[in-house]
């Protein structure tokens, strides 16, 4: 199959675009470049031109599609309701097909994707990074001015090494002290449990404190975002089927997800299957059962947080939470419930921070441009804490905060809720 035929498959969706341009200012790469080529309308025009054989996509064309962060902020901005996610995914799959003609590309991608979704690899890396953090190697490099000697690329990558929060999260049962018999599963995902183990445990303890039993399945696998963003549809299908089967078998009421990207992928598993396939209906069943952690907390909160937190707090929503799952208010409303908090809105918070899954690694230059804009906006509000709702955002913005030497803290919304519920001082009134 040629790339043209892949885009042909989603032709109806392509032709829904009337190129009105409303999407332009929703697109982070357009905002930092002013270039039509780096906008949703531009990317769709290139797809249309491919279908109509006006162009034969070359490496240059591929570059514009590659620069899409897939934040999907163009979708809510689009009056025609173009499902851009579907378009870019089909295009990416086609691109992958073309690139796979190169043996090296095919095997490199397979190896990288397989490593990224393997738990032992992620945990091993987390361990290495943890030692790296603990030994303060980063500061050492700066101290002995080694950063001046290292090549620029290595330096950039070194800066991206995430801060590891505690040991990896283990699978198993985490019951609450109550007899509510309200059990939920918490999705681990592949990257988050390794690097943000402590944060995930806080989410579990928070759920327990609120009276919910939690189970983390051992047989779950990566949600498939990484492979589908990179156009490997075979791997995505395999992962989706495994997860659908395992999650549907579990008796828990809901599957909760604390990483927005995974949430979108799982809620959209039905896109992967033909409507006649049995998995299509199963995917819809799983969708019913799947809830983002904030959606769940907001709708099922048995009592409000009481611990005071006297800080100025802002929030950067995850793109896949607001643009695709349309979960906009719950995290903010939950934050506002915390006594003592002064909530300030982050300007243009609906624009992506440039994390985009593996985007910060595959497109470091563009990721940086988008991040810099975000940091300028964050600095303007002088908040003590920036909260996020997704691990990618946390790593990216943590990086941004460090680079711009500001003293603000960054954490998940659940971390702050945990602090208020379990640690905060109650008002004696």
């Amino acid at each position: 199959m040629t790339i043209k035929s892949y885009i042909d498959n989603v032709k109806d969706e392509v032709y829904k675009c009337v190129h009105c341009g409303f999407c332009l200012t929703a697109c982070p790469t357009y905002l930092v470049s002013g270039q039509e080529l780096e906008s949703p309308r531009g990317r769709i025009t290139l797809m249309k031109a491919t279908i109509e054989s006006e162009i034969i996509p070359d490496s240059n064309t591929f570059a514009h599609w590659d620069r899409c962060i897939q934040c999907r902020a163009c979708e809510p901005a689009c009056p025609s309701g173009v499902n851009y996610g579907l378009l870019i995914e089909a295009t990416k799959t086609g691109m992958n097909e073309v690139r796979s003609e190169s043996f090296i590309y095919r095997y490199n991608l397979k190896i990288i994707l397989n490593l990224l979704i393997s738990k032992w690899f992620v945990n091993l890396n987390a361990l290495i990074f943890r030692i790296y953090n603990k030994l303060k190697i980063s500061q050492l490099i700066n101290k002995v001015k080694l950063n001046k000697l290292l090549p620029k690329k290595i330096n950039e990558l070194e800066k991206m090494i995430p801060i590891i929060n505690g040991f990896p999260l283990k699978s198993g049962n985490y019951p609450s002290d109550t007899n509510n018999n309200f059990k939920v599963m918490l999705f681990r995902g592949c990257v988050m449990p390794g690097i943000h183990g402590d944060n995930m445990r806080k989410t579990i303890y928070l759920l327990n404190h609120l009276g919910f039993d939690v189970e983390v399945l051992d047989n779950e696998v990566c949600c498939g975002s990484i492979s589908s963003h990179n156009g490997d549809s075979d791997m995505t299908l395999k992962l989706a089927k495994t997860n659908i089967d395992n999650f549907l078998q579990n008796e828990s009421k809901y599957l909760l997800i604390s990483s927005a990207g995974c949430g979108t992928r799982i809620k959209e598993y039905n896109h992967l299957f033909n409507k006649n396939s049995s998995y299509y209906n199963k995917a819809l069943l799983l969708k019913e059962k799947t809830m983002d952690i904030y959606e769940f907390l907001y709708n099922n909160l048995p009592f409000k947080p009481e611990g005071n937190i006297n800080l100025t707090v802002s929030y950067q929503p995850a793109c896949h939470l607001i643009n695709t799952q349309k979960i906009i208010d719950p995290p903010v409303e939950l934050l506002k419930m915390i006594p003592g908090i002064k909530y300030v809105e982050l300007p243009s918070s609906n624009i992506c921070c440039g994390a985009g899954g593996a985007y910060s690694i595959t497109q470091p230059e563009w990721s940086k441009k988008v991040l810099n804009k975000k940091m300028t906006e964050f600095k303007s509000i002088n908040a003590d804490i920036l909260t996020v709702s997704n691990p990618g955002c946390l790593i990216q913005l943590q990086n941004g905060i460090q680079e711009s030497s500001i003293s603000s803290d960054i954490m998940y919304v659940t971390d702050l809720l945990y602090n208020s519920y379990l640690k905060g001082e109650k008002n004696e009134s």
Binding site: Y15, K16, C17, V18, H19, C20, G21, F22, C23, L24, T25, S33, G34, Q35, E36, L37, R41, G42, T45, L46, A49, E54, I55, I56, P57, D58, N60, T61, H64, A77, C78, P79, S80, G81, V82
Partner: protein, 468 residues
């Protein structure tokens, strides 16, 4: 080195290689704007300053290459389409709000600033910028100046030219100059007024000084569903006849409101035929009084439902439905030809029924979206370019609709400009003499016809040789 190569190198010398596009496959995204018109540019540049714009203009002059200025490319008359090739100068990188003076209530903006960003920033001082084209979330102030854009709220506030104090422009000679005054209306011959609405044929606007207004104390928004288009049109006439001037009265017919509802779930009732969106603003007591008055008037026309926006969120949703309606038509077919004819308000009902008769005759769907308050029709002809013959049919229908507008005392364009799409209809409204005077005016600014050639004037021969 051929002309092409040396020209390209000089472009790079001026703006840097990151901001010059010459790859044919890449330039395809600059072929069109918000319309279905197409034209392949020869070069695309994104300058970062007025000095760079000036240098580009001088360079293009030297080579005799036509220049097409482009903002966000959301225009609806083909104004930014390089129909005979040339150099696109896109101002999107020049997008800084340079200054807001809350005391004088003015803002100094670069041409690429997005319309909505002005009001967003100005709201920090309790101010706003009034002209609000439906594409305000994406369109640039430079483009607004070129087209003298309107918008729903222009009913009460007037169009772009009423809100611009001064503009910095690069003339076709490359000279950088200011038109207008920073503080008040200009004295002497109003070059500012002449330039606004010249659709990129007199030069490129690079900076704009706009007037800001104080945000109203109270705003109330109605969404009213009617059984038929006549009732809605007559209600509009009655409201304005009563002496109330709402800040906006917008109308969407059945086809349009269905598409809008699908896209937004704004709450338009299922059985509704035509919808009016009415907004009133002012002091609290006045608004309460006007609200009752409007309800009384509307009730005479047997409305299906009168909805009042409960809060800002709901108001924004009502407006999202209205402002996104053109794009929402993509749910019906991939192309539209939007007619912008404007008629005296009292003729609305009659003209609309004529439009629908014509649509039937041609066998095409027309969705009617109107700035009803000022008689600005937007019959939107929906078609599919892929269906052979449909494009031609749509264009002929558009022409017939414009004829009806002019016959009923109307004009060709309310706010989108003549551009490429409507230039052949100019003789419907203007005599040869009128058009010749306009050409003379153009000649004063751009004697070589180098700026946006092939726009506004019917069958104007483009004498400039294209570089091959």
């Amino acid at each position: 080195m051929n002309i092409n190569q040396s020209f390209k190198q000089k472009l790079i010398d001026i703006v840097g290689s990151d901001y010059v596009i010459v790859d044919k496959q890449d330039m395809i995204v600059y072929e069109s704007d918000g319309t279905h018109d197409k034209g392949m540019p020869d070069y695309v540049t994104l300058p970062g300053s007025v000095e760079e714009v000036s240098k580009l203009v001088i360079l293009a002059n030297d080579y005799g290459i036509p220049i097409i200025a482009r903002g966000s490319g959301t225009g609806l008359s083909g104004g930014a389409v390089p129909i005979s090739g040339g150099l696109i100068i896109s101002v999107n990188r020049m997008n800084k709000i340079l200054n807001i003076d809350p005391e004088k209530a003015t803002a100094v903006l670069e041409a690429g600033v997005i319309n909505l960003e002005i009001s967003k920033k100005a709201s920090e001082y309790g101010l706003f910028y009034a002209p609000d084209p439906s594409s305000q979330q994406a369109c640039s102030i430079g483009g607004n100046v070129a087209e003298n854009s309107g918008g729903p709220h222009c009913l009460a506030y007037g169009v772009t030219t009423n809100h611009i104090l001064a503009i910095e422009v690069v003339l076709p000679t490359g000279e950088i100059t200011w038109f207008g005054e920073m503080n008040k209306e200009s004295s002497g011959i109003d070059f500012r007024g002449l330039f606004i609405g010249s659709e990129g044929t007199f030069g490129i606007c690079t900076k704009v000084v706009v007037k800001l207004l104080k945000q109203p104390e109270e705003v109330q928004t109605f969404l009213i569903a009617f059984n038929n288009i006549n009732d809605a049109a007559n209600a509009t006439t009655s409201i304005i006849g009563s002496g109330i001037i709402p800040s906006a009265i917008e109308m969407m017919d059945r086809t349009a409101s269905k598409a809008a509802e699908e896209g937004t779930n704004a709450g338009i009732p299922e059985n509704s035929d035509t919808v009016l969106l009415i907004e009133i603003e002012g002091f609290k007591e006045d608004i309460k009084e006007q609200e009752l008055l409007i309800k009384d008037i509307v009730n005479e026309f047997d409305p299906i439902e009168i909805k009042l926006a409960a809060n800002t969120k709901e108001r924004d949703l009502f407006w999202k439905a209205r402002k996104g309606v053109l794009g929402a038509l993509g749910r019906i077919a991939p192309n539209y030809f939007l007619v912008d004819g404007t008629v005296p308000r009292t003729k609305l009902s009659f003209v609309l029924s004529e439009v629908n008769k014509l649509a039937k005759k041609y066998g095409l769907i027309v969705a009617n979206v109107l700035h009803a308050g000022d008689g600005n029709l937007h019959p939107c002809i929906i078609f599919d370019q892929q269906t052979p013959g449909d494009t031609q049919k749509a264009l002929s229908l558009g022409g017939d609709i414009l004829k009806v507008c002019v016959e009923n005392g109307g004009v060709l364009s309310g706010e989108h400009g003549i551009g490429y799409e409507k230039k052949e209809y100019m003789p419907l409204l203007f005599s040869e003499n009128d058009i010749n005077y306009m050409k003379e005016m153009k000649n004063i600014f751009d004697s070589k016809n180098n700026f946006n050639p092939g726009k506004i004037f019917p069958e104007m021969s483009d004498t400039i040789e294209q570089p091959k």
